[in-house]
């Protein structure tokens, strides 16, 4: 299994990426004008109180020192204290990870469950009415903005049909599945079309391949050729595309989380940027970066597993 040895050294390659991300975020957030202490305390606070907050959170120190301090803490597993929430950053962030993770996985699973049958049906008889319908769906799905689609789904499923809650996260795994169905559906209505188009095109291209003609000549049933060989060979580009899109989705949860009031990282990111809560922004960015890296890592593993010829 030497083809999988990259699993061992890949994490080491990732370290510089994370450090790079942390430096860039650190500088970018600090570049936004606006004093965190003033935003926190508002107009009514005295300059004294503002100076005190700046001192307490080390905001009066040079930028380089602040970064060094941040890294030193990070290496000790300390994320510092949030200026807005007056609580350890870790305690603020940790509650937010699960909802975002749950939503992302749910959305991706729904997307795949939706995309694979649709693409298979469409490519089975290119140009048929089924194919046409799938293509209309994928074009429409890509074009619908999430904030609008979200409200429409709520009106239909929550207000008219009363099947799913309007928003929220619920308690317990089954309740999460129930609460997050609409947000996950919103994700998949945007994501599935991308996958459908890609998978359908790849399937059609594969159907033209020589090996398909050879198998047909041998008398293999069409269904076996389609599902057993063509489908499997078409998966690699789609898996890679899925990886790219999940990375994009991690950033895109912001909109969906706020429409559906999911208490996840995306919402925390927005409020922390508005409040100039530098350390929380840092922490969430690092989480997002780690998430993207993990997704790509996972895609690499799947790719290698799917195609014996690929090496990393």
């Amino acid at each position: 299994m030497h083809r999988f040895k990259f699993v061992l050294y890949r994490p080491i390659q990732l370290l510089p990426v994370l450090i790079g991300v942390s430096i860039v975020t650190f500088i970018l957030v600090q570049l936004i004008p606006g004093d965190p202490a003033r935003i926190l305390l508002g107009a009514k606070a005295t300059p004294e109180a503002i100076a005190e907050v700046r001192e307490k959170f080390g905001l009066d120190q040079p930028l380089v020192l602040q970064y060094v301090h941040f890294m030193k803490n990070l290496l000790q597993g300390e994320l510092g204290r949030s200026i807005i929430y007056r609580a350890p950053v870790l305690s603020v962030v940790e509650q937010r990870v699960a909802p975002t993770l749950f939503l992302l996985i749910y959305g991706v699973v729904l997307s795949v469950l939706l995309a694979v049958p649709l693409a298979l049906a469409a490519a089975w008889r290119a140009g048929s009415s089924v194919d046409q319908a799938v293509r209309v769906f994928s074009t429409a799905g890509i074009g619908l903005p999430a904030f609008w689609l979200g409200i429409m789904l709520m009106l239909l499923f929550s207000i008219e049909l009363r099947l799913f809650p309007v928003s929220g996260y619920g308690e317990g795994a089954l309740s999460h599945l129930h609460h997050l169905f609409l947000p996950a559906l919103t994700i998949s209505i945007a994501l599935a079309p991308v996958l459908v188009r890609n998978l359908r095109a790849t399937l059609l291209a594969q159907l033209e391949s020589d090996y398909v003609s050879a198998e047909r000549a041998k008398g293999l049933p069409e269904r076996a050729i389609y599902l057993g060989h063509v489908f499997r060979n078409s998966l690699i580009p789609t898996v890679n595309l899925l990886g790219v899109n999940v990375s994009w989705l991690i950033g895109g949860t912001v909109v969906i989380e706020s429409v559906y009031s999911v208490p996840g990282l995306g919402q925390l990111m927005v409020s922390s940027i508005f409040g100039r809560d530098y350390l929380v922004v840092q922490a969430v960015t690092l989480m997002f970066a780690i998430g993207v890296i993990l997704v790509n890592f996972f895609v690499d593993i799947v790719t290698v597993a799917l195609d014996p010829r690929v090496e990393m």
Partner: protein, 505 residues
């Protein structure tokens, strides 16, 4: 109906979770709001999202009375004030307890008030510097010595920051007290899932009999306005606050929902930088006033749900002067005043917070109105966090802003907005009229109510004459609840009287 396949799945979900809610007598009141709280330590915040939760968890020595003309007993059952008006003696009720069951004694009061005055990050500490000494001679008595007589002192003690907290718990939890607080109010802190909800439960040790009525209050974060309203209509929450003005009428037509437009102390205004010529000329400032059709702004931006502001002390608040000089919408007059001031081709910049719809709309209307009198107005959108810096540093001509009162006494707002001899620089307008400043100082020390009223009437009249800023409008709170929710009310000071709220399903 291609969504039919979802019906069985959804119905199964609904069956599994819909029936699970079995609550006790008083029920749970779920309130949706647009943002989460930041901290629940009363001295470290000035955010409404914090204050409105704190108000129902904490008790103070005194509270604002119902008609907002003064204070009423809360933890203190009575108090005496010395001849020279510098010694206040408070007598606590017997058998007071915090929500964790521990005794609330005079030493907790001493600790809480000293902390409020002395902690450097305490946001409203300047209001309490007048306290020279706080003592607890026995368990039920608190004696406060003031440096000098102070008229606003009693109403200051009713502010959320002056909540009485348990000394040992605050000391033990330190910085974490704000995420895990204990108080002596009608409700007890239960849990806080950040970004999701804060759960408060009935405080069994609350000192007022028969309150609160509901067993539990949940403050849910529903940031998106549409979602919050849909959730209310779907019956998933019992009340929603911060209804956009554009949605008020639609909700008023929903038979299941009641809309509460409770009066507030909010006043929206245009700050004017008096250090930027020609805005230092009162004629130019008056010309701006005459050029603005405030009724038009209220109709367009607030959908009519507001009234023209006439003074910086809002209508309905203590010592509001109903007869200040008026500046009617009169573009001709505005042009004439500009002529007299010798101002031509004036270009001004107005700072607005990006993403704030109300401000953007108002700014565009102002732009059109000022154009009619020959003033070019450039709208500068800044990221909300940046606007403070710009205003504090005085790098602006005009800016849209608002104020809500924390205490009923007008001293706090007068000191901040028209005094001009402190760091606030008259809300950073740099307005300074020595006569007004003298009156503001006098207003703090004169204790006779009628004389004080005259002083504040005079302050309002003079400041309005000087056009320290432009008063735009007073607007109400916009909350909505289901018909089965009774007594869901917000006082003008912003406090939800949830201890009186009932659910009658």
């Amino acid at each position: 109906m291609h969504f039919k396949w979802l019906l069985p799945a959804g119905a199964a979900f609904a069956a599994a979770f819909g029936a699970a809610s079995a609550f006790a007598d008083g029920g749970t009141l779920k309130i949706g709001r647009d943002q989460d709280s930041n901290t629940l330590d009363p001295i470290f915040t000035i955010e409404n999202a914090d204050i409105w939760v704190l108000n129902n968890m904490n008790a103070k020595l005194v509270e604002v009375n119902e008609d907002m003309t003064g204070v009423a007993p809360d933890l203190a059952k009575s108090w005496d004030i010395s001849e020279d008006k510098t010694t206040y003696t408070f007598h606590l009720r017997e058998g007071l307890k915090f929500s964790d069951g521990s005794a609330l004694t005079a030493s907790d009061v001493e600790f809480s008030l000293e902390r409020l005055r002395d902690e450097k990050e305490s946001v409203l500490r300047s209001m309490f510097q007048v306290m020279e000494d706080v003592k607890a001679p026995d368990e039920h008595t608190v004696v406060i010595e003031l440096e000098h007589p102070s008229a606003p002192f009693l109403s200051a003690l009713a502010v959320f920051s002056a909540s009485i907290l348990p000394e040992d718990v605050v000391k033990e939890r330190g910085d974490d007290f704000g995420t895990n607080p204990v108080g002596a109010g009608a409700f007890k802190f239960k849990t806080w899932e950040r970004g999701n909800r804060i759960v408060l439960e009935k405080n069994p040790h609350y000192h007022k009999d028969g309150q609160p009525k509901v067993d539990e209050v949940q403050w849910l974060v529903e940031a998106n306005d549409n979602t919050r309203i849909l959730k209310l209509q779907a019956g998933e929450i019992d009340a929603a606050i911060f209804i956009p003005f554009s949605r008020v009428e639609g909700l008023q037509n929903d038979p299941n929902v009641q809309v509460h437009l409770d009066p507030s102390s909010r006043e929206d205004h245009v700050l004017i930088n008096h250090e930027h010529p020609p805005l230092d000329n009162v004629k130019v400032r008056r010309a701006l006033y005459h050029a603005i059709d405030r009724e038009g702004i209220i109709d367009a931006v607030l959908f009519g749900h507001g009234t023209v502001a006439t003074s910086f002390v809002p209508k309905g608040q203590m010592f509001h002067n109903p007869d200040t000089p008026t500046y009617d919408y009169d573009p001709d007059k505005a042009r004439q005043l500009l002529d007299e001031a010798g101002v031509e081709d004036l270009t001004l910049e107005i700072i607005t917070a990006a993403g704030n719809e109300t401000q953007q709309q108002t700014a565009v209307l102002l732009q059109n109105m000022l154009k009619q009198v020959g003033i070019e107005l450039n709208i500068v959108k800044q990221e909300p966090g940046q606007t403070w810096d710009t205003i504090v540093q005085g790098e602006y001509d005009l800016s849209l802003n608002y104020w809500t009162n924390d205490i009923i006494d007008p001293d706090q707002k007068a000191t901040f907005s028209v005094y001009g001899e402190n760091d606030a620089k008259s809300y950073y307008t740099r307005y300074h009229n020595p006569e007004v400043a003298k009156l503001v100082e006098k207003g703090r020390t004169v204790l006779d109510a009628e004389k004080r009223r005259d002083i504040y009437y005079k302050i309002q009249e003079m400041a309005k004459k000087d056009v320290h800023w432009i008063d735009l409008y007073y607007s109400p709170f916009r909350n909505a609840s289901h018909q089965y929710v009774e007594n869901f009310h917000q006082t003008p000071m912003g406090r939800f009287t949830l201890e009186m709220t009932e659910i009658n399903k």
